[in-house]
């Protein structure tokens, strides 16, 4: 008699636990509630921009560089056109700069290397929680956009990427205040060597005040826009379309 009763009790306990979990989850994932919770993102962005006024992220020494910098997200784009560019050593690769600009550009890697550059040894912080220190060399994003001449109505830059991740093309958006930050660069070298495929060859973003998912790899095109709600999921980035905050500074 005791065994079935015990089984019954365990069953009742398990279903109560399941009920508790599903009840909690209905609340935890309720869309209206999530909208309220997301208001904290606006607060974080406003407060941090107000307090910080764009201070530089800390820069480290060569001795701090990790030999084991983790490559995350896409580490080898499956896209055939990208693989063809790898095979050709990115000889035909061109960075397209268009949208709300006075002078649309198409720049080769050599032309980008000739632009005003910056080298910085910084800490990369992944949204998952880990950090790695590496050295990045790249063209200053602000100077590049000045070259193209932003139209007055431009508010954000969309970074269109070559990689497909989970069935969708990667992309990111940056506000102009971040585009013009001195440490925001389009990096073509890491630790003194050309960018590897795993880390985003031939060109990736470094915006050092932000988390890893903002640092778009395999950048193909910079599009100046006044809004981004018509692009992909409309939230301003690949991970943003999957629920992550667009600010990405926390």
């Amino acid at each position: 008699m005791t065994l079935p009763r015990r089984g019954l009790l365990q069953g009742a306990g398990a279903s109560l636990a399941a009920l508790w979990l599903s009840g909690c989850d209905k609340i935890a994932t309720n869309p209206d509630l999530v909208k309220v919770l997301s208001s904290a993102e606006v607060l974080n962005r406003r407060v941090q921009r107000l307090l910080g006024r764009g201070a530089l992220a800390r820069e480290f020494t060569r001795a701090d560089i990790t030999p084991n910098f983790k490559a995350n997200g896409t580490i080898n784009p499956p896209d055939a056109d990208y693989q063809a560019m790898v095979a050709g050593g990115f000889a035909d690769w061109k960075l397209v700069v268009d949208g709300l600009v006075e002078r649309p550009l198409a720049l080769s890697l050599d032309q980008i290397r000739a632009l005003p550059s910056r080298t910085q040894i910084t800490r990369h912080d992944c949204v998952e929680g880990w950090s790695c220190i590496g050295e990045w060399t790249g063209a200053r994003f602000g100077a590049l956009m000045d070259m193209a001449g932003l139209k007055p109505q431009a508010k954000h830059i969309v970074l269109h990427c070559a990689d497909t991740l989970g069935g969708a093309k990667y992309y990111e958006t940056l506000d102009l205040v971040d585009v013009h930050h001195p440490q925001t660069i389009l990096a073509y070298a890491m630790n003194g060597a050309p960018l590897s495929v795993a880390h985003g060859a031939p060109l990736r973003l470094r915006a050092e005040r932000y988390l890893g998912y903002k640092q778009a790899k395999y950048v193909m095109r910079l599009e100046a826009v006044d809004r981004f709600d018509h692009i992909a999921g409309g939230q301003g980035g690949y991970w943003e379309d999957r629920g992550y905050d667009r600010y990405g500074g926390i």
Partner: protein, 290 residues
């Protein structure tokens, strides 16, 4: 009949224990800490490894929770330094809806239950604001209103080693202050509460802020204070664990020293103490005291 007087029966009186601001901030704090813990464990699960210093030395964290496959289901293991603890069913591998999953903390301890870092962050950062604003209000009122000085700061007499040892000995025998002594916090209570509101809770906020790359750029002293972002993440986790330990002891003490009386005092503000009836003790003749 003998002339020995029977001791007067103690009387229950309700005294004002907690001010409205203490009661309100206490419950807001309790709810936010609970939600912050559950959403925090969701965030921890995204990379269940902790390190010291600026960056992550993958594979060499001081704490690491993982799973390995044996037979029909994953087995959980928690590594603390070089010591492995087999934690199948709780840490590393646990059942979600009857199905075995490799996940650091189990579904019933994370918000939301499923692995969903983005949503865990939304909950965490919203209630981080609620928690921080609430703590600021509490501390400001405690300083300005005198709660800190009057109720929480130990008196010199309470700090004497003999008194402290005596309190510890009494607590170990589950003897709690009674009567007039119950009007104020004992020295162990004061120490525990001060440690939480002045040390653990502020450290939670500061170590949490240190994990934000933008705030690190704005306030480099944050990273200096914790000796690195990964150290800050470790300290955030350890401090949260200490708050959980405090919570468990707090619950045990609430139950042992009178559940309803304690809960009522934190809701209505009224706390019952037993005092000798004032008329039972004949007043001492007021003599010519020096």
């Amino acid at each position: 009949m003998t002339s020995a007087p029977t001791p007067p029966k103690p009387q229950k009186v309700l005294v004002r224990r907690h001010s409205p601001i203490v009661r309100i901030t206490h419950w807001i704090n309790a709810v936010s800490l609970c939600l912050l813990l559950l959403s925090g464990l969701q965030i921890f699960n995204a990379h269940p490894h902790l390190y010291w210093g600026q960056q992550s030395d993958f594979g060499h964290g001081w704490l690491s929770i993982g799973a390995y496959d044996v037979g029909d289901h994953p087995r959980g293991v928690a590594l603390v330094g070089d010591t492995a603890f087999h934690t199948t069913g709780f840490l590393g591998a646990s059942k979600v809806g009857g199905v075995w999953m490799a996940r650091a903390f189990p579904a019933w301890l994370t918000l939301p239950a499923e692995q969903y870092l983005a949503l865990g962050r939304r909950w965490h950062f919203f209630f981080a604001w609620v928690f921080a604003i609430n703590l600021t209000l509490y501390l400001a009122s405690a300083v300005i209103g005198g709660h800190l000085r009057r109720d929480l700061a130990p008196t010199w007499a309470q700090l004497k080693p003999r008194h402290v040892l005596h309190e510890i000995w009494d607590h170990m025998r589950l003897r709690f202050p009674k009567g007039e002594d119950a009007r104020r916090y004992n020295v162990l209570q004061k120490g525990a509460y001060l440690g939480v509101v002045l040390l653990l809770l502020p450290v939670m906020i500061l170590s949490g802020m240190t994990m934000s790359p933008s705030l690190d750029a704005d306030f480099p002293w944050l990273v200096e204070l914790f000796q690195g972002r990964q150290s800050a993440r470790s300290i955030h986790f350890i401090t949260a664990s200490l708050i959980v330990v405090f919570f468990l002891v707090h619950m045990v003490m609430v139950v042992l020293s009178g559940t309803w009386n304690n809960v009522r005092s934190m809701i209505t503000g009224r706390y019952a103490i037993e005092v000798a009836p004032p008329t039972a003790v004949p007043p001492e003749p007021i003599g010519d005291a020096p």
